[in-house]
């Protein structure tokens, strides 16, 4: 420390003046500069068309093929596929939103049903004008894709994505367990009571380490398919007006009947009699030891326990055929059937496609990529291992499922074709909160006896708050 007299020398005055001027200049520069974003980092914004995909959705070879084919078709459009690693769709959307907040928004994002309305409402661009413009080119695509999948990608009358894959929740049954129980494979029109009776037979014929029915507590494939089956939903479901521009252009009268401008999920109805009845049914299965209390997560350990015969039945989609094959399960060791009929036999699905972000400065190029990714030859190259169900009906063939199974592979697309009321999981723009509330109170409702009604009352309150809250 040095001593300073109360009066400054001329030199000191000049020095402090220079410091002050420097600081003021720095502050002024900082204040007048546009907000620095991640895009200002050298090398970040190289002018490429950036496509963000869920890291685990496609294998690296398929991504390379996807990129190479597009570059060949559009050599003037540099393309960068950014595979974002995430454990599930919710985690994926969180990471995409972080990129957007950092100023490095991609041009296209691979979005599943869980995020369709969130992206459409806040971030996305309707594809209507491009679809109208290229209608002739797209006619073949729409003729191959079920209208329910297309409708699930619409929001308030506009189309936001072209679906390229989907997964409906069907029932996978282990044939080894069925044989052990002396039970035949259930018919397509089996009922909920048939299902319960089958679980009891499986339980009787197995040891204490066996679980007849296993399910995971999540939005897709958790309690929701049972709600659909019982003719209800977590949120009141209706259709937005509009959309006739698309239906009239691409679908015959029979297919477009009753279609609208996309789904609306509004009033929570967790305390309705049918929702409570559904939870009571699942609670009764737990009480009877016919299924476990549902755990959270993505059911990664399920492949192992199903393929080794420690689980008899579980809900899953076409994506599981590839998973079971990789786990070493023979094509004829399992098979798939529709959900059993309760009040209805309506089933649920989730779909995915590319959403264009409104911040994109390359929207025409982005549209070219969307069209390219929906082509049959491109999808065939991308979806080789049966890790999902292609959205194009013509891609589901006996050859595709010969090695992996199941024998009844037609069930995957017939879930849409034979049950046209099969619909998407409820995913309003507030989907994150809705999912959190659903998972939380499903866990509570089924964690101990007689807790269904109180848990559903609390679920209703929290859902009402979530739906009232503007994003």
């Amino acid at each position: 420390m040095w001593m300073t007299d109360s009066h400054l020398s001329r030199r000191a005055l000049l020095r402090y003046g220079a410091y002050g001027a420097g600081a003021a200049a720095l502050a002024g520069t900082a204040a007048s500069w546009d907000r620095l974003t991640g895009a200002d980092i050298p090398g970040r914004d190289d002018g490429s068309l950036v496509v963000a995909t869920l890291g685990s959705a496609f294998d690296p070879a398929a991504v390379q093929a996807l990129s190479a084919g597009f570059r060949k078709l559009h050599p003037d459009v540099p393309l960068r596929v950014n595979a974002v690693q995430a454990v599930d769709w919710s985690d994926f959307f969180a990471k995409i939103l972080t990129q957007i907040a950092a100023g490095t928004a991609p041009d296209l994002v691979y979005v599943a049903t869980e995020g369709v309305q969130l992206f459409a409402q806040r971030l996305g661009v309707p594809l209507d004008r491009w679809v109208r413009r290229d209608a002739a080119e797209l006619r073949e695509y729409f003729a191959d894709v079920h209208p329910s999948l297309v409708e699930s990608m619409m929001y308030e009358g506009s189309l936001h994505q072209l679906p390229v894959e989907f997964n409906a929740a069907d029932m996978y049954l282990n044939r080894q367990v069925l044989n052990r129980a002396g039970a035949g494979f259930p018919p397509a029109d089996w009922t909920r009571d048939d299902f319960t009776a089958l679980l009891r037979e499986m339980k009787r014929s197995s040891d204490s380490h066996f679980t007849p029915y296993f399910w995971t507590n999540r939005l897709w494939g958790g309690v929701v398919p049972w709600l659909f089956d019982n003719g209800t939903n977590l949120l009141a479901e209706s259709r937005a007006p509009g959309g006739s521009w698309l239906w009239d252009t691409f679908y015959p009268a029979a297919d477009r009947a009753g279609r609208g401008g996309g789904f609306r999920w509004t009033t929570p109805q967790a305390t309705s009699a049918r929702v409570e009845e559904t939870y009571d049914y699942l609670a009764s299965l737990i009480q009877e030891d016919l299924c476990t209390r549902p755990e959270g997560g993505n059911g990664t350990n399920l492949v192992g326990v199903f393929s080794t015969g420690r689980v008899g039945v579980t809900p899953a989609g076409g994506f599981w055929a590839g998973g079971l094959h990789l786990a070493g399960m023979k094509a004829n060791a399992y098979d798939v059937q529709y959900f059993p009929r309760w009040r209805t036999q309506r089933m649920q699905f989730g779909a995915a496609g590319y959403a264009m972000l409104r911040t994109s400065k390359k929207q025409d190029a982005a549209w070219e990529f969307i069209k390219y990714a929906a082509r049959k030859d491109v999808m065939t190259e991308l979806f080789t291992a049966n890790q999902t169900t292609p959205a194009r009906r013509s891609m589901l063939t006996a050859g595709r499922y010969r090695e992996t199974g199941p024998t009844r592979w037609q069930v995957f697309y017939d879930t849409l074709d034979k049950f046209p009321d099969t619909g998407p999981i409820p995913a309003p723009p507030q989907v994150a909160e809705v999912t959190d509330v659903l998972l939380k109170y499903t866990g509570t409702a089924l964690a101990s006896p007689r807790s269904v009604a109180p848990a559903l009352r609390r679920m209703q309150g929290d859902l009402e708050q979530a739906m009232e809250r503007a994003l």
Partner: protein, 317 residues
Amino acid sequence: MTNTQISAGRARSASAPPAVSVRPPARERGTRLLTALFLTPTIVGIVVFTVVPIVGSIVLSFFDWNVIDPPSFAGGANYREIASDSTVLVSFRNTLVFMVLAVALQLVIALSLALTLNGRMPGWLRSVFRSAFFFPLVLSAASISVVMKYLFNQDFGVVNWLIGLFGIAPVPWLTSEHGAMATVIIVYVWQQFGFSFLLFVGGLNNIPKEIHEAAALDGATGPRKHLAITLPLLSPTLLVASVVGIINALQVFEQPYVLTDGGPGDSTRTVVMVIYERAFEQLRFGEASAVGVLLFVLIMAVTAVQFRLSRRFVHYQ
């Protein structure tokens, strides 16, 4: 600065004309510059990665921000919202219960093992145990939790299979409220106690043998020796272990997030989980920041109380 310089300065200011600044000698200026140069990276790091985020969080807690739209000033609305939010309140309760149980268990296990290893034992065996106890700490908490989730699965887990060999019915480790909290604590303590254990081993080695020998001459043996001699002399280490343990426990996230996702219901939802969910899943960054600020205050308060109490219970040699 030397006394001569101070005297010279005083003398000059008293007798000589004013308006003259006394500059330090060149060598001292060089030393100061060098000191500043060495400190700058640390200070810049602390400012950029600690001070700015803390101040930013406090400011953000008074705004509504969803990442997509610009932030809008909300006053104290976020704090009013979380004060009446049962999930937030339960998460604070869960975190406090977790902290008390996990830290107590961690300290007891670590201290017991350190005392055991401090006894007569071959050197190589002691090294093996030390490495084994410390090893879980170097592993990723998320990876451990994924593996533990398999082990504690009610139907297919190894743990229930093992206890089943003794005729015990399967325990719903992860799917019942008490079971889930107990499992999260077990997994956390298993991974974390190695740090406290190492601290205690170091602390025990620092206690002079002469004190134990003198105590033995006075007739103090076994538990009495530990209570009267070892623990008081180990109290500074205990303070450090408990402060670090409590701060870590109050920020627990990976284990409940992977093992139970906060469930069943809210039974294992912790404060940091709520911050993550509000911010990155529900895009309510203002509310998440408000919860973060409250956690920050809680950690500061608990730590302050610990240091206050340490004046009475911690004995330095």
